[in-house]
Symmetry: C2
Subunit: 136 residues, 2 copies
DNA sequence: CAAAACTCGTTTGTACACGAACAAGTTTGC
DNA sequence: GCAAACTTGTTCGTGTACAAACGAGTTTTG
């Protein structure tokens, strides 16, 4: 087919938009990756939960959340303990350092979202978020 | 901050939308990854070019395009030769097998884009693409 | 109660993605 | 005409992402 244009396909554009967002992210929050921040933020928001449960809440499969959690633990941001009622479960919890780091970087997180959407008007921002939400 | 909601941030939503798209992609085109298809499609569209040039056209850095190109070459989809005028340059070109595979999967590529956008109306699809294009 | 089905966390393998550093080749500037 | 600056492709290290397979623990079911 001669009329297929890669540069106009949703998937290709989504990838580029995501690249730009990741660049903005690492510029404003070099301490954490987007996934690490998501995990930390969710733990601060909802408190202690098991590793796989956390993964489910932020859309990461078991293998991915393991790596993310390991890195946060290694950096001393999370506490870990075994669930006494279900010895399979590894309960994760943001500790003092984790909460402190979170509070230190939330403002940056807000600026990141703002900057990512900055080429759009207020109405366009609303509309984009509405449309993207339909594609989740 | 108590009013920061991870689930409403562009970056987080973008990641989820992308996940859904990748799932649709691998379902409809298990032969190639999105990046491999992008590289092949660009080579078919524009013909022979150097490895880094190809990377630039599909927004992949030199380290990434190397791996993608290596895999396509290993699968016998590309021809490689040295540029006589600039011995640093590695010229890539889709060969017969590459063009054949491309032609075999373009239809699937179109269905992938369609299915990704299927929760939206025609007007919404147009609008989403317009807004995303502003965020590239 | 015991077997089947399921869940939790882990490991392995593959594939992006990008920063940083490097050697070899090419172009520029003086 | 030659040193400095740049480009090309490569390697290394780190960090997602997900499929598949696994052992160990828990729940369901007959």
């Amino acid at each position: 087919m001669d009329n297929y244009r890669l540069d106009e396909q949703v998937g290709f554009i989504l990838r580029r938009v995501n690249q730009r967002h990741l660049a903005i992210f690492s510029q404003h929050m070099p301490e954490l990756t987007p996934t690490q921040f998501a995990a930390l933020a969710k733990l601060v928001e909802l408190g202690e939960m098991s590793q796989n449960e956390l993964g489910r809440k932020i859309a990461m499969d078991a293998a991915t959340i393991k790596g993310v959690a390991d890195r946060l633990i290694k950096r001393g941001l999370l506490n870990v303990r075994r669930n006494p009622d279900d010895s399979r479960r590894k309960l994760l919890c943001a500790n003092i350092a984790g909460v402190a780091l979170y509070q230190q970087v939330v403002a940056a997180a807000e600026r990141i979202s703002e900057k990512t959407l900055s080429p759009l008007s207020s109405a366009e921002k609303q509309e984009l978020l509405r449309l993207l939400a339909k594609l989740k």
